[in-house]
């Protein structure tokens, strides 16, 4: 079959052949069994594709998390308009304010990160070896069986409680299966959350590779 025939047959099948060529092509199709076979193959392929993907469109869809989003360009449009129509002197205080804000945010972030790390280290140390072992079992089970977005929790003997939520599944270039999850440690009214990446090392055995805040 020539490329021209293939494209013409495809256009006929998709209802895209110009009206003027349609009758002539239908006559040709009736005359040529080879063309008919190809047409049947293509039609059955499309039927198969639609049939295969139909269940996906029929499934119950997860809820969309759509909030009220301010279009990002409108703010900048207003800001640029304000700067554009203002005196050139307005640039100077703007830049100074921006610089001060960046410096303050940087210093604040640095101070806060030190506080959080100290606090976390203190809380994590409160878990004993038996609790740690029980927690590891929970992590293994959750990562092995639970879907992303679902949550499991573990309650210790005392006031401590750990909540695990897998968030992402991926494969490393070396072929290892890994999952990312959030681990929230709650002690009384205080809590701390870490993001953890663990990779599968055997059946229901997951090893933590990274933790970050």
């Amino acid at each position: 079959m020539t490329r021209q025939d293939e494209l013409q047959l495809q256009a006929w099948m998709d209802g895209e052949l110009p009206a003027a060529d349609r009758d002539a092509f239908a006559e040709r199709l009736a005359r040529e069994p080879r063309l008919q076979r190809q047409a049947e193959s293509l039609q059955s392929l499309d039927r198969l594709l639609r049939q295969a993907y139909a269940p996906i469109a029929a499934q119950r869809v997860p809820t969309l998390r759509i909030g009220k989003v301010r279009p990002s360009d409108s703010f900048w449009a207003l800001f640029c308009k304000w700067l554009g129509t203002s005196q050139p002197l307005r640039w100077q205080p703007c830049c100074l304010l921006l610089l001060a804000a960046i410096s303050l945010a940087g210093a604040g972030g640095y101070w806060l990160s030190g506080q959080i790390k100290l606090e976390t280290a203190g809380q994590a140390n409160e878990l004993g070896p038996r609790e740690r072992q029980a927690l590891q079992l929970l992590v293994d089970q959750v990562l092995e069986h639970q879907r992303s977005g679902s949550t499991a929790s573990w309650q210790g003997q005392g006031r401590e409680r750990v909540i695990i939520t897998p968030t992402r599944t991926f494969r490393t270039p070396d072929g290892d299966y890994c999952r990312e999850f959030s681990e929230r440690l709650v002690i009384g009214d205080e809590w701390n959350e870490e993001q953890v990446i663990a990779c599968r090392e055997g059946e229901q055995r997951w090893s933590v590779k990274a933790r970050y805040y």
Partner: protein, 185 residues
């Protein structure tokens, strides 16, 4: 031949708010398209979610009077292509052991349709990206050549060429699979 689903060209021009509402109404179709691209429900859900966020943020770029579905398909395919490029650098996502996909299919569909989907998806995943997009938009989503070419921002002859190559490759794959199955049994 095309999908009997709602023809938006027949509707009066939509406001931007109505466009978003219309897009939400198309959620199952958009998710099906995303699934065809990603091959897992988890990744498809994330892709569609991100596409809606992007659509809301850039709603001003949508031109009233143009098709909402084409716009949403374009956003999804752009996000997916970007994700593919990033994956090549960072490492692959996992389409194989997707418990979400297996559990949801097994519970909602009988095993036969689940197997059919897996077989077709395996063949689709072997296609180059440009052919995969053309086949999914025309054969599965039922877009016309003009609409599909608009989504992919290519000419109609380029689209028909990609579509023909994609269909030919799929037919070969499926026939080879059937022959192997028969030889095995």
């Amino acid at each position: 031949m095309h999908s009997p689903e709602q023809d938006l060209t027949q509707l009066p021009p939509l406001s931007r708010r109505e466009a978003i509402e219309t897009a939400i109404g198309m959620y199952p179709r958009l998710r099906r398209f995303a699934y065809g691209l990603c091959g897992s429900s988890d990744e498809a859900d994330e892709l569609v979610q991100t596409a809606f966020e992007r659509a809301l943020k850039s709603i001003r770029q949508w031109q009233p009077g143009t098709r909402v579905d084409s716009w949403m398909y374009r956003i999804i395919q752009n996000l997916w292509l970007n994700q593919r490029r990033a994956d090549r650098v960072r490492g692959l996502h996992l389409p194989v052991t997707d418990p979400d996909r297996l559990s949801s299919l097994r519970s909602q569909q009988d095993a036969e349709s689940g197997l059919l989907l897996e077989r077709v998806q395996r063949c689709i995943e072997t296609l180059p990206d440009d052919q995969k997009l053309a086949v999914l938009l025309v054969s599965v989503e039922g877009l016309s050549y003009r609409e599909a070419a608009g989504v992919l921002e290519i000419s109609e002859p380029a689209l028909t060429s990609r579509l023909a190559r994609g269909r030919r490759a799929l037919l070969e794959q499926l026939e080879a699979g059937t022959s192997r199955k028969m030889a095995g049994s």
